[in-house]
């Protein structure tokens, strides 16, 4: 498994774990009435810090386990995999943004707008990672 494939597994795991927890927490909070802005802001800062920590620690561990394969530049196959997955993720992001903004207009408030856009972005990123991992496993033929 190449360094970049491992990197995608880390990113996907972090997305599912951290952002999954965030959106479940948000939905629970909505059940109890819309949370106030300081609450939302605090939660977001916590999630962003957790994501940074997971990425830094995860990539450091992977690099230390096999230093010879740790690198940042992509080769031609990895670029092709990334380009193909990004194109599909962009479609999902565009569609998700339209839905999110439509929902925000229907029931306009900052909370729905921020979280709708955020969800579309995280969903698109997660789909990109899944497609990349699938291409790494099954090939690009």
């Amino acid at each position: 498994m190449s360094f970049h494939e491992k990197s995608r597994w880390i990113a996907l795991g972090a997305n599912l774990l951290v952002w999954g927890w965030y959106f479940i927490t948000i939905l629970t909070a909505v059940d109890n009435g819309y949370p106030d802005e300081p609450y939302l802001f605090g939660l977001l800062v916590g999630v962003i810090v957790a994501m940074i920590v997971i990425h830094v620690v995860g990539h450091t561990v992977v690099a230390l386990l096999k230093p010879s394969e740790a690198r940042t530049e992509l080769d031609e196959r990895e670029r092709a995999i990334e380009n193909r997955a990004s194109a599909r993720a962009y479609e999902i992001l565009s569609f998700g943004l339209v839905i999110a903004l439509g929902a925000a207009l229907y029931e306009w408030n900052t909370f729905v707008a921020i979280n709708g856009v955020l969800f579309a972005f995280i969903l698109a990123e997660s789909v990109r990672y899944v497609l990349e991992i699938r291409a790494y496993r099954r090939g690009l033929a």
């Binding site: 498994m1 190449s2 494939e5 394969e69 080769d75 031609e76 196959r77 990895e78 092709a80 790494y136 099954r138 090939g139 690009l140 033929a141």
Partner: protein, 70 residues
């Protein structure tokens, strides 16, 4: 996943070239060991540039490394 319409003899050529490893070949043409493995297994179609580089490493013309079977 559909198979590529061509095969290659990279594995044999590596063996004949002093049992060159996938990592060594990858280093010579600027790709990872995993990309060489994917090319050998027909899971990735290399760019024309990479194909020429591989052929050049073994001192063979392109059609002695890659064969069209579509």
């Amino acid at each position: 996943m559909a198979r590529l319409p061509f095969t290659n003899d990279i594995r044999t050529l590596r063996f004949l070239a002093g049992e060159m490893t996938q990592a060594e070949l990858g280093e010579k043409i600027g790709v990872t060991r995993q990309t060489i493995a994917a090319i050998e297994q027909g899971k990735y179609s290399p760019t024309l540039e990479a194909a020429f580089r591989i052929a050049r490493v073994f001192g063979k013309p392109l059609d002695e490394v890659f064969r069209w079977e579509g």
